[in-house]
């Protein structure tokens, strides 16, 4: 019986996934109407993300181990892609474990302000209250603040670790939302055709007409800055490219022989969409996902850099903004978050390029 | 011979690929005489296009590299002369037509521009004169309503018309030699016949020297003065069209002719040559045709056959015809 219902939505896997989603929706309803808070808003994103990754990422990869191995070997030949992957894993580890090991990134200690990183030292004139004079002091970097402190004495290392967490959160969740919307709209548009396709593509054109960053600023301006809203804003505006790509891929698939054959055998629409169209556009979707993450991370840090980020979280953009104001006294505050941001974007770009080449049968690495 | 206009001597061309070195042309020599149409015949992959491209040093390098030999034209060795000198010859003295007129024409320039380009370059004509001359050339190769079409783009032409444009461009500077690399292969049969008519006219009226490359013996019958048969990067037989069609001597040539449908000889079916083209990375030690040859000798597997004269102009590279094997006891002088 279960398999029978499963077939309606394109397999048991989809059924299980839908069940899990419904369970989550139930929790959400309880969350809204019950007094106690069960999950943080972001928690829902994480659970959906994890479910998607398990059902449509890890499980299919495990099923087709040989193909996975083949693509992995092809990706591995890109030495830079491997570097990218290693760095991303490192970053994930830092984001998960780091906050427990570092100091509180928001703790202000004025007596320890502007301490340079280990190995550097600066001279600074300090006002002495007792004698009412300025004296020149020599401040060396200490291991207590390995990466130095900012002009409020906050520990740079702790702030960078916190920033890594924010960047990855936004990068993964917002990209996931954007890619999900884009894929669903693209497949629907290609498969249903007619006025649905027309309306969806016109809407895509309208969305693409807004300059991305201006639209983000506008949305945050109206809805107010919170991490959830930043993620939602990026996710809800960043899907247009994916939708177009997926639509054109699905359009060319729709007329291919195996889809025709499946339809002539009496397969239902949902079966064709779930079993044939979605799995076959998946490789393009994986590539575009990896290549979209850096843009999303950059958008978040740019927003928080200009002061439109969540004021309660310490992201790299916030630190960079603080650093910009103290360029002449504490250069490291501006340099360090930028280097992290740059390396993260570089790592995702390398990985994305490697994956794209691995999926591109024409490239011979 | 005084009459010789182009002399290819011991040409060696190798391609350096990931799988190894492909000896695409392996020590080939032939002469081309003034006013004759010389046809280079062989299966695809036998090196005939490589020979044609080597004449004007147009091979893509890498992977192709000319390893040795000479190509003599006028007083120059085309393989070694400086680039400037070669560019004065290209398009001006020796012109070339390629297989696929679709991709050989630049899609973003009008056909008139592309024909006029060489006129401006070599004959130093101004724009208007060059365009007028282009118009006459288009009429000459039989493009209807040439005056209207001169400003059209290649994609607005049919395949046959595009090839006519290519021919018009090649003829623009009145070259001494025209190299045509499978000019009819990408075309429909009827269009093919029309294009061959243009070549026949060129030969008859302009007495042009034409190096015609094809894989199809049928195309060259009635057009070729002399034929060079290539196989696996080597020339296996050279002779006048009569020699080759009436007295094919090399087993490969005989095989090629057996593949042709014939009206006079009533046969149930065409006879294909058994086997496939050998890998040119590790070619057979002796004769390249040995693995597919129906009348091989023990010698063929180990010793590469030299070219021997069969009769007059007719030479063959086959042990069957070599005097030592036949047992005549004397070598040809």
């Amino acid at each position: 019986m279960l398999t029978k219902i499963g077939n309606k939505v394109g397999g048991l896997r989809n059924l299980l996934f839908l069940c899990a989603l419904m369970l989550l929706a139930l929790v959400l309803v309880l969350d809204i109407y019950a007094v106690d808070r069960i999950l943080e808003p972001l928690g829902y994103f994480y659970i959906v993300f994890a479910l998607l990754a398990i059902f449509y990422g890890i499980y299919p990869l495990y099923l087709s181990r040989r193909l996975t191995r083949y693509y992995w070997d092809r990706t591995k030949r890109h030495r830079l892609a491997v570097f990218g992957l290693v760095f991303i894993f490192f970053l994930v580890a830092v984001a998960i474990a780091g906050p427990f090991l570092t100091q509180d990134p928001t703790k202000v200690r004025f007596q320890e302000k502007n301490v340079p990183p280990v190995g550097f030292s600066i001279t600074q004139s300090v006002y002495d209250v007792k004698t009412d004079t300025f004296s020149t002091v020599h401040i060396p970097g200490t291991w207590r603040h390995a990466l130095g402190t900012d002009d409020k004495g906050r520990d740079m290392l702790a702030m960078l670790v916190s920033g890594a967490r924010v960047s990855l959160q936004v990068g993964l969740l917002a990209t996931l939302i954007a890619i999900l919307i884009g894929t669903v709209l693209g497949v629907l548009s290609a498969y249903l055709g007619g006025w649905v396709d027309n309306a969806l593509m016109r809407f895509t054109d309208v969305m693409m007409t807004f300059p991305f960053f201006l639209l983000l600023v506008f949305i945050i301006f109206i809805f107010g800055p919170s991490l959830t809203f930043v993620i939602l804003a990026i996710g809800l505006t960043g899907w247009t490219g994916t939708a177009r790509l997926v639509r054109s891929e699905a359009l060319s698939l729709r007329t291919r022989e195996f889809v025709m054959a499946s339809r002539s055998l009496g397969a239902s629409d949902s079966r064709i969409v779930f079993r044939h169209l979605i799995p076959n556009v998946l490789s393009s979707v994986i590539v575009i996902t990896t290549l979209s993450i850096p843009g999303v991370i950059l958008a978040e840090s740019a927003l928080s850099f200009i002061g439109l980020g969540d004021p309660t979280v310490t992201s790299w953009g916030v630190v960079l903004n603080a650093g910009q104001r103290t360029l002449d006294t504490a250069w490291w505050v501006a340099v360090e978050p930028g280097v992290m941001l740059f390396l993260t974007v570089l790592a995702f770009n390398f990985l994305g390029d490697g994956i794209r080449d691995a999926f591109d049968p024409r490239s011979q690495v | 011979m005084d009459n010789t206009i182009l002399k290819v001597k011991d040409l060696k061309v190798h391609f350096f690929t990931r799988h190894g070195v492909v000896k695409a042309v392996d020590g080939d020599s032939f002469d081309m005489r003034r006013g004759e149409s010389l046809c280079l015949v062989g299966e695809s992959g036998c090196g005939k296009t490589t020979v044609a491209l080597s004449v004007l040093r147009l091979l893509d390098s890498p992977p192709g590299k000319i390893m040795g030999g000479e190509i003599l034209y006028g007083g120059d060795d085309l393989l070694k002369c400086p680039d400037d000198r070669l560019r004065q010859i290209r398009g001006n003295k020796i012109a070339m037509i390629f297989q696929d007129p679709q991709s050989s024409l630049n899609p973003v320039f009008t056909v008139g521009d592309q024909i006029a380009e060489q006129l401006k370059l070599h004959l130093k004509l101004g724009h208007r004169e060059a365009m007028e001359k282009s118009l006459r050339l288009m009429e000459q190769v039989g493009i209807p309503r040439a005056a209207e079409r001169i400003n059209d783009y290649p994609h607005q032409f049919s395949g046959g018309m595009r090839q006519r444009v290519m021919i018009a461009a090649a003829l623009s500077c009145n070259p001494e030699i025209l190299i045509a690399d499978e000019p009819t292969t990408a075309l429909d049969t009827t269009v093919k016949a029309q294009i061959m008519d243009i070549f026949r006219d060129l030969k008859r009226e302009k007495n042009m020297s034409i190096l015609f490359i094809t894989h199809d013996m049928g195309t060259v019958a009635g057009f070729a003065d002399r034929i060079v048969v290539m196989y696996g990067g080597r020339i296996v037989e050279t002779g006048s069209a009569l020699d080759i069609f009436d007295h094919p001597t090399h087993p490969y040539t005989r095989g090629l002719l057996n593949c042709l449908p014939s009206v006079s000889a009533i046969r149930d079916r065409l006879t294909p040559i058994p086997g496939a083209i050998p890998s040119l990375i590790n070619p057979p030690k002796g004769c390249v045709f040995d693995p597919r040859c129906e009348c091989r000798l023990p010698l063929c597997a180990t010793v590469r056959p030299e070219e021997v004269v069969a009769s007059g102009d007719h030479t063959v590279a086959c042990h069957q015809c070599a005097p030592s094997v036949v047992g005549e006891g004397h070598k040809p002088s």
């Binding site: 007409t209 300059p211 960053f213 201006l214 809805f223 740019a302 200009i306 910009q324 | 973003v108 290519m166």
Partner: protein, 325 residues
């Protein structure tokens, strides 16, 4: 026949652009009405200090914006105001938004134009050079730098340039001065770092696109034809290959304007204090100056719309294979 086809195409594209413009205006309207904060509140936050009776202000603002009318009336008022160029009153600067835009657009235009020239010229030259000599040391170096250029966040690059060249070396300490003419030496000098900041990412991108497009076209058979004609390599590459390779690049450059350049210009203007539209919008956001933020967003969309339109039309002139349908 051909000409009529082109005209028909242009008209169709124009009509479509109007449709999209309507869509953009409608989306903005919906966003505004869905948003949790009403314009009146934003006004109030700003005006309350100066006015005695807040409820009076709310009433005035609601009347001014017709917020007391039914939704569909508001919607039509919104559309007709936009179309007539009545874009509201900027209260943080006390002038009509239209006037404010007219005063400041030229600085954004100058910055974007200069940095696009910078990135397009350098990117194309480096890309061609890389493609002509592929897999050499210079090519690898160019590829390496283009990867870095693409990945470096431009606002951070701007800060680093200030740190090195202004703070440490003291070379470009001048700031953009609106009192001087646009192309005065001092202002041009002040624009050097912003142009590099805004242009580097795009330049790196163009380098890669041009390189791969050139390499792709160098493999085409018409290159062999061009060489067989006896054309010098300079002409073969500069004319035959480049003309084919540049077609997709033009679309990419135009497309960049919407995604990359506007966002970049916004941040660059903020970092370097250039009084362009980005800076104005930024100030308006923090002054809760509602009409200015809306208008600049809409202007950005309008410019993207117009450039897309222009690109499509220019493209039909450049690529003879395009059919007008």
């Amino acid at each position: 026949m051909k000409k009529g086809g082109l005209q028909g195409y242009v008209i169709r594209r124009l009509l479509y652009a109007i449709l999209i413009a309507w869509g953009v205006a409608t989306c903005t309207f919906i966003l505004l009405r869905v948003g949790p904060i009403s314009p009146a509140d934003k006004y109030l936050a700003n005006m309350s200090a100066r006015t005695a009776d807040p409820s009076q202000v709310v009433a005035a603002v609601e009347a001014r914006y017709g917020l007391d009318k039914p939704l569909y009336v508001q919607y039509f008022d919104w559309l007709s105001n936009l179309a007539r160029g009545d874009w509201g009153w900027s209260f943080s600067t006390s002038m009509p938004v239209m006037e404010l835009i007219q005063k400041h657009w030229i600085y954004s235009f100058q910055l974007i134009l200069l940095s696009m020239l910078f990135s397009a010229i350098l990117g194309i030259l480096i890309g061609i050079y890389s493609a002509v000599k592929p897999y050499t040391k210079t090519d690898y170096l160019a590829t390496f730098f283009s990867f870095i250029g693409i990945s470096v966040p431009n606002f951070w690059l701007g800060i680093m340039l200030i740190l090195v060249f202004s703070v440490q070396l003291g070379w470009f300490k001048t700031y953009y001065d609106t009192g001087l003419t646009l192309f005065s030496l001092a202002n041009l000098k002040a624009l050097v770092l912003p142009v590099i900041t805004l242009g580097t990412g795009a330049m790196a991108g163009y380098t890669r696109y041009v390189r791969s497009a050139m390499l792709e076209n160098l493999r085409k058979e018409f290159v062999r034809t061009a060489r067989a004609k006896g054309l010098p390599e300079r002409v073969v590459i500069g004319k035959h290959v480049f003309r084919n390779a540049i077609l997709p690049i033009i679309t990419i450059i135009m497309f960049d304007l919407s995604g990359v350049v506007f966002g970049g210009a916004y941040l660059t203007e903020i970092i370097f204090g250039i009084p362009g539209l980005g800076r104005i919008s930024f100030n308006a956001v923090f002054a809760s100056d509602y009409p200015v933020v809306i208008t600049i967003t809409l202007i950005g969309a309008l410019i993207v719309l117009l450039t897309n339109l222009a690109t499509d039309i220019v493209y039909t002139r450049l690529d003879p294979r395009i059919r007008y349908d």
